[in-house]
Structures are given as structure tokens and as C-alpha cells.
Symmetry: C2
């Protein structure tokens, strides 16, 4: 509707923004169709005229974002259907993740498929920010080499910490980082646009994009630190400064052991992965304690926010069967509305890759939402 | 903009909704102007034609919602300026509040001014829901009598409990209520439309409407129970079922005393008004303990939501000077970003009347947002 009003307004100064808007409309229409679609179907779905859609499609094909599949004789499965599809050789997103005990990189193509994936285990607490980012750049270059068939639209980095609006990592307690301009360093080394975001936020967005996702949930990412991504009515809630979701530092037992952040009895002290004592011969009591601590913190979250779905991600996802009993016992006891409405507790669809995929996905999403900007940068229009 | 597009679309089936929309536009324009404004100024501010505005204004005057002040010779202060203003005799809202130890009623006129206010102290825990609501009806009738110069547009009731979408109070732990259809009873007795909402939600909305309010804050209402209203970016966040803000049942010391809700160590056990021991000869230690417990719970809230403003309302407002030290000490220790960004902790602008005013204000707001519906009900159009 908006598109048509704008397109027919005929005001010359808005012409380029109308075109940008309509390019995105057509690209997203094709990208979200389960099957290739015809130009006519794209016109009908977007409400644009067939002539307008054809001109836009030609630009998107010339720019390498769309491809037009030739009609095939119907001869069984496996043949691509005729019509428009997102180009498998279109601009891709490079998703990076730095966490306390691993580095990761993946390349996601414009259709949202992960084409390459690299994970390197190494304790980042032993190195300073520059060294850690140097290792990440090396991993990123390996991923870029693997993906040399694809143009890269940009890079997004997931970090377990507080990221300011300008992309500077203000604090990442478990990495020992303070005021690290990770974006500038990666930009210099990789020569691509770079954004930085909190890992739980990116993982929550990634979860939100999976089919059948709830519209309102709290995603809890369990690693050495614990973060949360809060999704309310289909939108990531970031908070006043972009620092929401620091569930790992919710007080659970206020007189408990001192946390890395300086406070006592934070959730991380009981339910961060090291506290689970997974390498011990009998981790049972530690897992029980972690489940109870998670349940106490999540009861506070649910009483406060009235969310009905909790998604456990990162290293928590495979541990959920073992943690569930402890969590649900505390929720049953402590959530005021436990008897009025059920609470869904489930593992993340993407498991440990959610943050990295969320990072790569944010690059792909940015291209899809503004293909004109990408084509302009790439010198293709 | 929308108004003009709709108004010029000329589709007959939408004619009545266009008129309803434009009536609200003009009424709100006049209501939010600090001074009376002319018809021409109302036209210019709303983007409607002068002829349209004049017709709408005539209807609003005939319906008793607006008044037109005669031009006065300029002869000093005190004389009303010429122009349109909200009618001082226009439809008013009756706000009711039932809380654990008091009942309250107020009449707010269409301009938002509280014209009458009644508060009756009585322990509602001693009576069942029907008896308590009977006493509230008696108080409401006294308020209606006081306001016999004003037509009442409706009634809103603030309760310290969980209210379902259909207006039924599912649980109000401190009143001992379960599944009470307070709206139906009040409607039968008072013969007016009735809505029911959580008291902290209504108080937070009331706070949001005061001049200079933050757009994002958590309002904490301290009475025998403790509730919160969460305002994110200018909107009340209600949660999936409308049950957000049960901060009184956030666990503070998980092994602490048993709460009325059945769980252990809820915030209410330390910081509900009875726990403050205000009637004791030396309430100091109890107030210290309450401040610390509030600080611990609010540190969790801020770590989770990244809000930068906490508003203490209800009985907490006058106690803030005594509670502030304890709260801020815990926030300083436990909020991960305490050193990166300041947190504002302040008393509610409206003090103990916030919920009742929020209730009355919700009725007034409903008339302002849909005057056509009110005029239709009142048989004036």
C-alpha cells in the first residue's frame, strides 16, 4: 500500500527512495517464497505493476541478487521450477563469534543457507583483546577463502558483552574486555563493513527467524557467561542503552560467592557452564544446583515480564533434559501465575550456532532490506 | 496525514469512521493545547479544512465536550482567553481503587482535573470480595453524588492483582480474591460501563501522562503488596496475558520466609509495607532491610531490562528518602552497568493517588480517543 502511494506520488526528489523501497519489496517477496515465483506473481503479491516489477527484477538480476530459472520439462523431482529465486551466488554475510572458550565464523548466502562454518576452541581469557581479535581475523580469512565464490556484503560480530550504539564493546566481563573497538579492527583487517552486537541478542533474532517461532520469548544463552535476548511481540527489546538481557548477573542468592562482575550470588556463579562441573565424575549435584538457580532467576523474569516461553540456547540446549526438572520445580513454586497459564521451556532450534548464524543473518537481512545500498556500494548501479 | 487520506477517499462505508477519527483528532488537539485555541488554529494543527473542523467543533460543543469562550477585553489576568477549550461540564471519569487497607474513589473531568476525591481506610482482608465491593459501591455513590453536575462516561477500577482480558480478577493474593467478576458487580450497581486493571499498571500510565515523564521506566507501587508497571518507549508493557509487573514475587532470598503466594523469600516479605514495621518504636533495621531487598530485586530488573529510571510510588513515595541509601547501595554493587550509565531513582509525581487517578484518567482518555462512541452512547448524535 505504502509502496503504491509513494510510487504514484511522482515527486522527483523521492524517486530514488521509492525505487530503493520497491527493490527491497520485490527481493523480499522472492526470498520468502517457498518456491521460485514468476514476475507476474511477484507483481500481484507486492501490488506493483508488472512493468515496474520487471524493471526492478532486471536490476536485481544484473546486480547478482536474483536469478531466473528456465522452465524445465516436468520429469520428476530434483529439477528446479521455473521462475525467480534468490541467486545462490548473491552477496553473503560473514558471521563471527568470539566467546570465552571458542571462536567461530560462518558464511551465510543470500537465501539464508549456511555455506561454510568454522569453529576453533581456545580459551580467550588467556589473551588480550588484540590477540583474540587477531586469531578471529585469521579464522575469518579462512572462511572468506572457503567462500571465494561469493561476494561478501559485510561482517557481523557476536560478543558476550555490552555493546554501545557506536559498536564499541564497553564491557565483556568474561573476556576481560573494556572499551574495545572491535569493529574498527575487523574493518581494517578485512576491508568490509562491520557491525557488532551482543551474542544473546543475535541468537534470539536467529531463533525468531526460525519457522514456527513464538513472537514473545526470552532466549537464554548459556556459556561461561549467561546472556539473554528478550523478544517481545516479534521485536528484540534492546533497552535504553542496548544493554538488556544481562540475566547472568541477576542476583539469585544475594550472599553467595563473588562473581567476576564484583557482585555476590549472580546466576552465573551457579549456572555458568564452569559451575556445572561437567568434567567431574559426578556432576549431578552441580546440575541440580544450576537448574534450581536458573529456575529462581527465570521465575523472577516471568513474574516481571509475563512471557510464556523460555528458550535455552548455547551450551544449555543439549543439557536441557538434565536441567528441566530443577528449573520447572522452581517455576512451579515461584511463578505467581503458574497454575493459571502454562510455561513452555524448550531448547533453541539452532543450538550452539545460533549467535554466529544470527550475526551472518543480520548481514543478509540488511542486504535484503536495502538492496539499493548494497548495489550502490558494490558499484553495480 | 492519515486523516486527510481517509477524509478525501470518499468511500461511503468509511464515512462514519472518518468522522469518528476526525472528532477525536480535534478534541485531542483542543485538550492538549495549553491555552484555548481558535477554530482556524485547530484546522491548521490537524491538517483538516476549516469547514470540516467547524462542523466537528459544532458537534463537540452540542455534545457537551467542548466549549467556546467569548473574546474578552484585555484587562489583566484571570479572564479566560477566547477560543475553544474542553468543557468543564463535559463527561468525567470515575476512578475507583480497592487496596488491602483502603478504598478510594475520584472524579476526573474531561480536562484531566480531579474534581472530587474520597479515601476510606479499612482492612479489606477482613471481608470477602462481595462485601468489599459493596463498600466500594457505597463510596462510589458518594463520589457520584458529589459530582452530580458532571455526566459520568464510565468507571475504571484499580485492583492489586492479576486481571484477565475479560476484566475478571483472576488472583489478588493480598485481598484473598480468586476469579472475582468485579466489573459485572460494579456495572449492575452503578449502571455505567466498567473496566478493571491492575493498580500498578494504571499508576504507571498516570505517571507517564505527567509532564516531563521519562518514556521508559519501571514504576514500583509499594503497599501491603508490591506491584510494578513497566513502561517501554512510551507504552505500557502488559505481557502475554496482561500479568506483567509482579515484582513483589521476584525471589530475593530464595530460602527466606514463606510468602502469601506460597513461595519463599519474595520481595514482599522484606519490602511490603507491613515488613517496614513503621509503627514500631525503632523501624530503622526493617527499613534498611527493605531498602536492600528492593535494591536486590531492582538490580535484577535493570540488568534484565536496561531501564534507566525507577519510579517509587504508593506508600513508597514518601519513604524514598529513608529507602534510597539501601536501594542505591545494592544497585551500585549489582547493576553490571552501574559505572557506565546513571540510574535515576525518584518518587512518583502523584504519590498515593496515582492508581486511582490512572483509573479515572483511563475513562477520560477513552472519551477523548473516541468521542463519537461516547456521544452515541449518550444519545447525543
Amino acid at each position: 500500500m505504502t509502496a503504491r502511494i509513494l510510487a504514484s506520488s511522482g515527486v522527483p526528489v523521492r524517486q530514488s527512495s521509492v525505487r530503493a523501497h520497491n527493490l527491497a519489496l520485490v527481493l523480499n517477496q522472492v526470498a520468502t517464497s517457498p518456491e521460485p515465483i514468476s514476475r507476474a506473481a511477484a507483481a500481484s503479491a507486492t501490488g506493483l505493476t508488472r512493468a515496474t516489477v520487471s524493471a526492478l527484477v532486471d536490476d536485481l538480476i544484473a546486480g547478482g541478487l536474483l536469478t531466473e530459472l528456465e522452465p524445465q520439462p516436468r520429469s520428476g523431482a530434483g529439477r528446479p521450477a521455473a521462475g525467480l529465486a534468490v541467486s545462490p551466488d548473491g552477496p553473503a554475510g560473514l558471521g563471527l563469534e568470539i566467546n570465552v572458550d571458542y571462536l567461530a565464523a560462518c558464511v551465510m548466502d543470500l537465501s539464508g543457507t549456511v555455506r561454510h562454518r568454522l569453529v576453533e576452541h581456545a580459551d580467550q581469557r588467556l589473551s588480550d583483546a588484540r590477540t583474540a581479535l587477531g586469531a578471529l581475523v585469521a579464522l575469518a580469512r579462512r572462511a572468506v577463502t572457503l567462500a571465494d565464490d561469493l561476494p561478501l556484503a559485510g561482517v557481523a560480530l557476536a560478543v558476550p558483552g555490552l555493546v554501545a550504539a557506536d559498536g564499541i564493546v564497553r564491557v565483556a566481563p568474561n573476556l576481560g574486555w573494556q572499551d574495545v573497538d572491535a569493529a574498527a579492527l575487523l574493518r581494517d583487517q578485512l576491508g568490509l563493513p562491520v557491525t557488532v552486537d551482543n551474542e544473546a541478542n543475535l541468537a534470539a533474532l536467529s531463533e525468531l527467524r526460525t519457522a514456527g517461532s513464538s513472537r514473545t520469548f526470552v532466549y537464554v544463552s548459556g556459556e561461561i557467561g549467561i546472556g539473554a535476548g528478550i523478544v517481545l511481540d516479534g521485536e528484540l527489546y534492546r533497552g535504553v542503552h542496548g544493554w538488556s538481557g544481562e540475566i547472568g548477573h541477576m542476583p539469585v542468592y544475594p550472599d553467595g560467592p563473588v562473581c567476576r562482575c564484583g557482585a555476590r550470588g549472580c546466576l552465573e556463579q551457579y549456572a555458568g557452564i564452569p559451575a556445572l562441573e561437567l568434567l567431574d565424575p559426578a556432576p549431578g549435584p552441580a546440575l541440580d544446583r544450576a537448574g534450581a538457580a536458573l529456575g529462581i532467576a527465570l521465575a523472577g523474569v516471568i513474574n516481571l515480564l509475563d512471557v510464556d516461553t523460555i528458550v535455552l540456547g548455547g551450551s544449555y540446549a543439549p543439557l536441557l533434559p538434565r536441567l528441566r526438572g530443577g528449573i520447572e520445580a522452581e517455576l512451579g513454586r515461584r511463578v505467581l501465575t503458574a497454575e493459571l497459564a502454562p510455561i513452555t521451556l524448550r531448547a533453541a532450534a539452532l543450538g550452539a550456532d545460533a549467535a554466529m548464524c544470527g550475526a551472518a543473518g543480520s548481514v543478509v537481512r540488511a542486504v535484503r532490506d536495502d538492496p539499493a545500498a548494497y548495489l550502490g556500494r558494490a558499484g553495480r548501479i
